[in-house]
Symmetry: D3
Subunit: 253 residues, 6 copies
């Protein structure tokens, strides 16, 4: 179900256990070879494919919110980013718009690494604010955490998602190849680094990469992209299926 295309009386008549899905992504620099809208285009494609599947009939999809938490990319012009606290508020507001009408199941499906921590912080805050509503199911899922492509797809160079990397570039080659510009084979690898693991290190993109990508864009192919879309789509769909079939109470989903 597409929220955008419904009238309000139709929404008013929905069961309050209907899962509401908010796709959230970003508009931010993706190196010299990929467009600013990369995260939104890729998540948009994952969501488009999920909507072809049976689970889509049981879930209400909001339009993709392309404004993300991207201050770490602001040194590169063109990036649009909500301030960190504003982004927390924005996610809260989206959820509260439905919580106010008694809906109980909310999921942010995320396509941008910088949104992961804020979406958890926002859901933590929301759960506390509505602590007495025991039936709330407040979830976030970053799409590339929904599956393990390396266990399924042969030939991937990277072991994890980077930024404007083999994986993202491959997926863009699948859906919008004309937006991948320049000589890809000449784009040098930028290593992932440890990033303070097993802890966390605060960072901006210039701390990690001068051109703006992280990983191995030169290894990208449209075939890998198609395989990645299939794997991620299946993962997200399975997650929403679990959410839909859940009893609504308790910790397990």
């Amino acid at each position: 179900m597409e929220l955008a295309e419904l009238t309000w009386p139709v929404v008013a008549a929905l069961p309050r256990t209907t899962p509401i899905v908010f796709p959230i992504a970003a508009l931010e620099q993706h190196g010299h070879h990929m467009p600013l809208f990369t995260d939104s285009l890729l998540l948009g494609e994952v969501i488009r494919r999920v909507k072809q599947l049976p689970v889509a009939g049981k879930v209400l999809f909001a339009p993709l919110q392309w404004l993300g938490n991207s201050h770490h990319h602001l040194d590169m012009p063109g990036t649009l980013s909500a301030s960190p606290r504003v982004y927390l508020d924005l996610l809260r507001d989206l959820a509260e718009n439905f919580l106010a009408h008694g809906f109980t199941r909310i999921a942010f499906v995320n396509g941008h690494g910088g949104n992961t921590t804020p979406s958890q912080q926002a859901l933590f805050e929301l759960r506390q604010k509505y602590r007495d509503r025991r039936d709330l199911m407040l979830l976030s899922l970053t799409y590339w955490d929904a599956a393990k492509p390396n266990e399924i797809i042969a030939g991937l160079t990277q072991k994890e998602m980077g930024h404007a990397c083999e994986w993202e570039t491959s997926m863009m080659l699948t859906i919008r190849p004309e937006l991948v510009v320049g000589d890809l084979s000449a784009v040098t690898e930028v290593p992932f680094g440890t990033g303070g693991a097993p802890g966390y290190r605060g960072w901006t993109m210039p701390d990690r990469s001068e051109p703006g990508h992280i990983g191995s864009p030169a290894a990208a192919t449209a075939e890998k992209g198609e395989a990645l879309f299939r794997v991620f789509t299946a993962g997200v769909a399975a997650y929403l299926e679990r959410m839909t079939s859940h009893a609504g109470h308790g910790w397990d989903v």
Copy 2:
């Protein structure tokens, strides 16, 4: 120029006087006969048409931000709205993303009545914050203020823009007729009222309309919609042309 499709080095190379246009709209109830995404669809069509015109080559368009200031519609489920102060912050952030890189000309092109006051408040705040940058041109324009359809188009019932009204319904019939649902001829007129004029009255939609529309949807036709799109498109394009050709200093645009 489409911001979404550019790479960051391309944006970095743009002249700092390039106007940046942020289309802003809403996802909110539009009565029993129109979809929640009405404002975003209509503004999106105006912008799409503007992009066909010569001025578009001199302007950088951000993607449409569909989350608006719609708390007055929150009684009707499905409406998504940023809290009033969060919306002010969001507009500020969008502008600052570019102001931080030295760009000087920002315009919000708006397609939702509830965004008008906040966009003025946000621009007021921004101008004060950057008071020492004398070359800033910070503008907002609601598209239906960009032209006077009644002086041009024959047969219009309404004298001004309402909500899910003759004008909006007509435009939707032009671009997405399948999203206009029910028997339009049976949708009764909801009068505009005075609304506290010549002052202002704080309101929520149930103060004004039980079904959620204001005006005369039954008078809508696809032909009127096409005429309205043409008039509004021309008005917005002319405004952007003025913005583009302006010297950048002083009060006149």
Copy 3:
């Protein structure tokens, strides 16, 4: 009724439909020829005259709040201004002080252009916050919007209110001529400009006027001032009469 002179038990005994009027103005630069308190003095005189009329017996007047939203004048020393968000909060607080006791009708009567957008924003926020109180009548009125002097008074040079202009200077000549300083005939006209119309442009006073006035002070006379006071007083009184006699529900006032 003068709130300032009442005891609290008298206020406690008032009908909850009693309109509460908050006069709001500013203390800000008014060019080289007019005092900082111009807006407060002029609105104070309008209110003083309204209090002579019958409607005053049905309305409770708070003292004039002279601190306004005047950051756009801060480049000129002496201006006192609340920060934009603080001003929104201040207006909210004033209204809530009475809303908390069940009063339902609040009006800001405004004498400063910079307060117009914030008073609308504040009333919007208040209406949403108390969305379930269907009997609220939350109004703002800028006094020069309450009448059309050009249709009534002969000889006015300006078509609209400026700043430290023909109209304001005339009114000051009527009530406090000793506070109009310097050779008025030598004060050159500062044109209004378009200001981004039909859109809005964020501005500070140095964007528009170096001396600090906008319009034609040299055209001011005490006679014009008296005529303006009469017209505006009648307009404000008529508005309060409408507010007083209103049923309290619905959009019309």
Copy 4:
């Protein structure tokens, strides 16, 4: 010097060591026998008398800000109060309006007990914010702390300032006797209590007094009021004299 009556070029020409005085008071319940504007009227009279003295020529007086920190009186209708944090912001803004132009000496002269802690908190915050400006002199003075009436005036029943008490009622009898209503001799004493001394106890007026006064209004006379005004006026004037003649650096004033 009256800020309200000056033009901005006159303010711009003042020495930056000119002390700026902000009189701050309240509009809040003062029992069954005294008007809501008591604090503002009394401080206004103190300031009016100070302005007759030589020190007034060296000091710039802002108009009295009647909106105070009065939430502890909000149970009694008619009270107007800024929210606690908004009041801190309002005081900060007033000071910053002048600090931004290089002025260095600011004093809040206060006539309301509820403003004492906030004015100290606000000055603390301001001093830290502008920590590198070593010449700042940021002061607050509550007028009844500026003198010790019991050591000077014979016949006072109270040892300290209360609320709508012997002292305040006496002063009101001096300047506006018609605003003291009812049979004063029948107003019973409300004892001061310990209030958690030598610590502090958070309170609202109903914690301390049902009618709204604290102290002994029945002991009030206009003669005592005149004597109190003289003592307090002298105290405030002496304080401003110290402020004016101070070198500007260091802890002593």
Copy 5:
């Protein structure tokens, strides 16, 4: 009772009139001769001694919160301070954690001068927020206000508490003499100054003292320290006894 050592079911079973004591201090510069933790060590010792007394059995002690409102000391490195508003929020949160479970008696026992105004501001705000809970007893007490050592202890040089002064240095010599460093006899007196009395002056430590102490550290002895601890401990214990035995309503404690 030590909150830290209890399990939650034990706390859940406590009478709601049990006083909750929050010791609050600071980690901030204390001159060249005293450690950063001085305030926390000294208050900790006062609290440790109070816990030996009978009243301790009727009171629940939270652990000492060492992070204080110390921005006025931030010019000296090592100082840790919450921002002024954050400190207000932190105190509010501590109290609300217990207010939310129906507890009614809260006391901040304070060991840092910079916390005095904020603790009063925080309690003021809390009392207003929970204005309808008439049984709340919200208190703060700075330990050196709980007694008058000069009236009891012979030989004290100072008349009041300073900073890293005779009194504090004496107390440190009593409990942790190894943390008093350098040649104490060579530490010169820094006079108290008037500090804007009888008003208040916003300050940072460099406004008052270059080395960071105020008062006469050279006069410190361990014997004076022991005497001071005894006097202050008795004062705090007596205050808590009053709090414990109070009826809970009304202004007196």
Copy 6:
């Protein structure tokens, strides 16, 4: 180096690359069998042991901040928690106190699961705020992420850290056995659940556990506790060693 015991001139003389360690934990419910201070006691012991090691000579340790982000435990009385945004501000303030003096390396060493997301959010915000300081190393590390006990210690029942669980109870038995109350063998296991993995689910403790623990306390022994302390201490020490020996720039630590 113990920050608490130093004087400010000693801190002022430290190299700006000295790592500053802020231990952060919580005071919150830990089931029926463990005290509220569990997290703080356990992290305190880890830090105490780290301080015995050579790395401690190169690092400056702040005192443990026991107030954590524990709103998810607030249903159980006794829990003390900063509001979510206040906790973000508090962490920011701690770091900024040192950043303001030019220090470049900050690490939060964390002993409470609820602090993990906020510490990352806070560091993200800090890094953006000081984006132009390229030498900043802003880190957080939760102590149980610093090692993999299951790969080293035989006999552990749990595979990961729970709450008041086998691991935490074991460690408490090692250092403060008298604070483990009741019949441990009778404490039933509370399973971990999926918690929305591979996504995140907003939760409060009653969503997961009625008694307040998660995991298998009955499996706890003091021997396991000692082994866990050794493993975690080594892990934290190794991390600080990496931090100390790092060049300061770049993503790797």
